[in-house]
């Protein structure tokens, strides 16, 4: 077996050194009834070629959105990832290292996480960022729990324009942790009044920007309303490329930012793994969940980096920890930070500009189609269309022609009323003029 270095001779010699007659002896603490005497009912070992063949056959059954004309978004976005990113993250020293518990031999990981934290804080306009979370949705749930700890209150107001998965994951945590969630329900009309729902028990208000329906919002006034009531403002960002063009959550007065970083450096991967992002104000630092990397000096006075403030964490505080999170998304954070370093200030802003210009252009063309109405006044690279037909059917039809027209809102809000004909359309720098032509002609055809 190619992954196992021990030979039969090695095993014999080692058993002799141990003083055991057979390997079965080493399992003698296992109750007899539970010892399997032969292999379980699964196929036997296979060579690299056979495994490659079988899995490639499975992959070949899919039509990847990375290849087909695709306007899918709703939390995962197709962006071009420079070749250097995937090359660098596959260096064994990054790929096959553990969490940097021994800083003297982990400065590579620690330094890139310190740089990641800095970049994330800059993008979001926050004081401090942690070294990553699982994904945007779990980061959002953690943000609500964090707000409850800070304010010692147990109610959270959730915008109806928050991504439904983020809402659901947060609702799960809230249910078990004992937090009361209040939400006005899906807000595709953009008319909800969240400030009216804030009261003396409110720990936080959770909003998204651009919101689930693609609208660009300024939450400055809401942040003031929160502050007046002693509640925190949590801003969710699912498309971080937008931060190259639109006002940062920090500038709007966000106390906590929970974001999804997949757009930078990471493939779509059918939705995972991705990289959760979390930031806050300096004064709430000790309530942040997750790993933090800090600067310090070594015994010779040279600058270096370590994991720090671990008294917040589960391996020290156990049931009193700020979170149970241990493993996070280190390698996805590396991909994020390399991509952003390649882009730089100029490249990142240009990327955001390209996305927005493409969206404006496509929106203009789509609204010219009979049976298509654009619901958004504002948007970055994603917007909501109201179609003359159920969006799920339209999407299936167009998928049959090899075009991914977008995400039907009903896929994520199957129980909501009035969403049947709504379609979320995302457009990025990767969408060519020809892809847009195919979407336009496809929609014209199915809506005729």
């Amino acid at each position: 077996m190619r992954y196992l270095p021990l030979t039969a001779d090695d095993r014999r010699e080692m058993l002799a050194a141990i003083g055991a007659a057979s390997v079965d002896d080493l399992y003698r603490d296992v109750p007899k009834a539970a010892r399997l005497d032969g292999p379980v009912d699964l196929p036997p070992h296979a060579g690299e070629m056979e495994v490659d063949r079988a899995l490639s056959a499975m992959a070949a059954k899919n039509l990847p959105a990375a290849v087909a004309p695709s306007f899918l978004g709703a939390g995962i976005y197709r962006h071009h990832v420079p070749a250097a990113v995937d090359h660098l993250i596959q260096r064994g020293e990054f790929l096959t290292a553990y969490t940097p518990y021994q800083p003297e031999v982990s400065q590579g990981t620690l330094q890139y996480l310190f740089e990641f934290q800095t970049q994330v804080a800059m993008l979001t306009g926050s004081d401090v960022a942690n070294a990553s979370m699982y994904d945007g949705a779990t980061s959002c749930a953690e943000a609500v729990m964090m707000a409850c700890r800070i304010t010692k209150r147990r109610k959270a107001v959730i915008s109806g324009s928050l991504h439904p998965h983020y809402h659901d994951v947060t609702a799960t945590s809230a249910k078990f942790f004992g937090v009361n969630l209040v939400s006005p329900g899906p807000d595709f009309a953009g008319t909800e009044d969240l400030a009216a729902l804030i009261d003396g028990d409110t720990a936080c208000v959770v909003v998204q920007n651009p919101d689930f329906f693609g609208r660009v919002r300024d939450f400055t006034a809401l942040s003031e309303a929160c502050q007046a009531a002693g509640a925190l403002l949590v801003v969710v960002v699912t498309e971080m490329v937008s931060l190259g063009l639109i006002k940062s959550p920090g500038e709007m007065g966000a106390d906590i930012v929970a974001a999804e970083g997949q757009s930078l450096g990471n493939a779509m991967n059918f939705g995972g793994p991705t990289v959760g992002v979390m930031t806050t104000r300096q004064k709430y630092l000790r309530q942040l969940p997750g790993r933090l990397v800090g600067e310090t000096a070594d015994a010779d006075g040279r600058r270096g980096y370590v994991l720090t403030l671990s008294t917040r964490e589960q391996h020290i505080r156990r049931d009193k920890a700020t979170s149970n999170i241990c493993t996070n998304s280190g390698l996805c954070a590396l991909a994020f930070t390399i991509h952003l370093t390649l882009l730089g200030e100029v490249g990142f802003k240009r990327l955001a500009g390209l996305n927005h210009a493409a969206a404006v252009k496509l929106a203009g063309r789509l609204t010219g189609i009979e049976g298509v109405e654009l619901l958004n006044d504002t948007y970055f690279n994603e917007f909501t269309l109201k179609l003359a037909k159920p969006a799920a059917d339209v999407v299936e039809d167009l998928a049959g022609k090899g075009v991914f027209a977008g995400v039907p809102v009903s896929r994520l809000l199957p129980n909501a009323e009035g969403v049947e004909n709504l379609l979320l359309v995302a457009v990025t720098e990767t969408n060519t003029a020809e892809e847009m032509d195919r979407l336009v002609s496809g929609l014209e055809e199915v809506l005729r």
Partner: protein, 502 residues
């Protein structure tokens, strides 16, 4: 020979690498993008003004930066990584290749399911392998990592209890457990009660029976436990848990010791998470991403979270919403469909080993650990004797009165070119040294490791304390001041001018 000062600060291949922010040339970029067309924008005036502060570097500078950083890391590719409870085994490159097939990596999670049948099948197939290997009928695939799996498992248990109108408030956790166990129980709204270990490194059965009553929702037991020992009373423990109307949660972090040889379902376990980044060889990536599927007994399956895969004839369907489920899922724990990219890697690994190879994995892992115990037991101090399972626990008794602490001993191992073992965990012994060689180390490597550890132990006993206190000397950085880092946290770079102004 003393090491000469150099003009650059580099020492041959060991380079000093500034932060990206210190390599900034404004206006530079490592990506060629066209200037966006001028459009009448749709941002509603909510625009970003001013600089973000991101540095500008070209591609060669970026590649060099990260390559140089990578060279400051220890890795399993580069050497043995005997971190107990972490299962740092070889990460096959076939897995990486498979995960990057465009037909997998290029899938959007919300493309029509009809266009992603191979991916949904892959999730179902990974679940099937895990189900057969554990002897458990259901698998919740979406948890993002081990701790997330723990939380998901406990949520499933609490949902099952509440569905029968049996709200309970406590979870029993042995004191040798990973810190994530009590933290997960607390996050699930439970009160944690700690159960002591006995003199044999196992759960103290009397204390456990005393704590067990109708208010206990679950016992969270790691098996094999974090002392590297199999809980030999496990069937009796399971029976007691069930008699009390509670559920038996097993932390599957140490499944590598028994995969293919023992099915947790046969031990009376109701619920167990599996760290795909441990037993099933997906890379740790410097701290993730992980993946923590949870296997469930019959009684818990109806309550597991969405999404999950059902097979309808030749079609695979992801049930994504609680409303479309025929069962009683408690909700959703993660965006989209779980760590799909890690499922591919784990399945590639399981298929490579097959049922026979996986059994051999467990046997070699256990053999390697017992070999360390046999060859080091006389020089170090093993509190519980053998046989051990896939990891071996020593305490710091052998260092008593030497002036050398476990930490110093570990740092000296670094100069010897090895990553240290897990230290000061589990908490049930003093100054713990927990070593997990895994099955992917050769006997030659183990022999070198053994020789190295023995020589260090002899050196410590000979009173060469300075040698240990000064270690490590041969690393990119020497011991770092963690106290200073925590006292005045500097968690981001700030421009020098701002720093001076503060």
């Amino acid at each position: 020979m003393s090491i000469p000062e150099t003009y650059t600060g580099h020492q041959g291949l060991r380079t000093e690498e500034p932060l990206i922010f210190e390599q900034d040339t404004p206006g530079k970029s490592g990506v060629d993008l066209p200037e966006p067309e001028t459009v009448s924008d749709a941002l509603g005036g909510v625009t970003r003004e001013g600089d973000i502060g991101l540095p500008g570097l070209s591609e060669p500078e970026v590649v060099r930066h990260y390559l140089r950083l990578s060279q400051k890391n220890y890795s399993i590719d580069g050497g043995m990584y005997p971190l107990g409870s972490c299962t740092m085994k070889h990460n096959p490159r076939l897995n990486e290749k498979m995960a990057r097939l465009p037909g997998f990596a290029g899938l959007h999670p919300l493309q029509p399911q009809s266009t992603a049948q191979g991916a949904i099948e892959l999730i179902g197939e990974t679940a099937r392998w895990l189900s057969v290997l554990t002897g458990m009928p259901g698998v919740a695939m979406s948890p993002a990592a081990g701790a997330h799996g723990e939380l998901t498992g406990l949520m499933t248990i609490r949902s099952a209890l509440e569905a029968r109108g049996d709200a309970r408030r406590r979870v029993l956790v042995p004191e040798s457990a990973h810190g994530t166990n009590p933290a997960s129980a607390a996050a699930c709204g439970y009160t944690v009660e700690s159960i002591p270990a006995n003199e044999r490194g196992r759960v103290d059965i009397d204390a456990f029976r005393k704590a067990l009553d109708s208010d206990v929702a679950a016992l969270m037991l790691t098996n094999p436990n974090t002392c590297g020992l199999f809980e030999n009373d496990i069937i009796e423990i399971a029976e007691a848990v069930h008699e009390a109307g509670a559920f038996f949660y097993c932390d599957g972090a140490n499944f590598n010791a028994i995969v293919g040889r023992v099915r947790p379902g046969d031990l009376g376990i109701d619920c167990m998470h599996i760290n795909l980044h441990k037993t099933f060889s997906t890379p740790h990536g410097g701290g993730g991403p992980g993946s923590g599927p949870v296997v469930l007994s019959e009684a818990l399956v109806p309550f597991m979270p969405v999404p999950y895969v059902v097979r309808e004839g030749d079609t695979f369907r992801l049930v994504e919403d609680t409303g479309e489920s025929d069962a009683k899922p408690f909700g959703r724990v993660k965006g989209f469909h779980g760590q799909f990219g890690m499922f591919i890697r784990a399945l590639s690994y399981m298929m490579s080993h097959g049922s026979d190879g996986l059994r051999q994995v467990a046997e070699d892992a256990v053999l390697n650990a017992n070999y360390l115990l046999a060859e080091l037991g006389d020089e170090l101090s093993a509190p519980f004797g053998g046989p051990c399972m896939h990891e071996v626990l020593f305490d710091d008794h052998f260092l008593k009165d030497t002036g050398v602490a476990t930490l110093d001993f570990a740092k000296a191992m670094i100069d010897e070119g090895f990553h240290p073992m897990t230290m000061y965990f589990p908490l049930v012994v003093h100054g713990a040294l927990l070593m997990e060689p895994t099955e992917t180390e050769s006997k030659q490597t183990l022999d070198t490791f053994i020789g190295m550890v023995r020589s260090l132990a002899a050196k410590a006993k000979a009173g060469d304390t300075d040698f240990f206190h000064e270690a490590p000397r041969l690393t990119p950085r020497r011991r770092l001041d963690e106290t200073a880092a925590a006292r005045k946290p500097v968690l981001r770079w700030t421009p020098p001018a701002e720093e001076a102004a503060e």
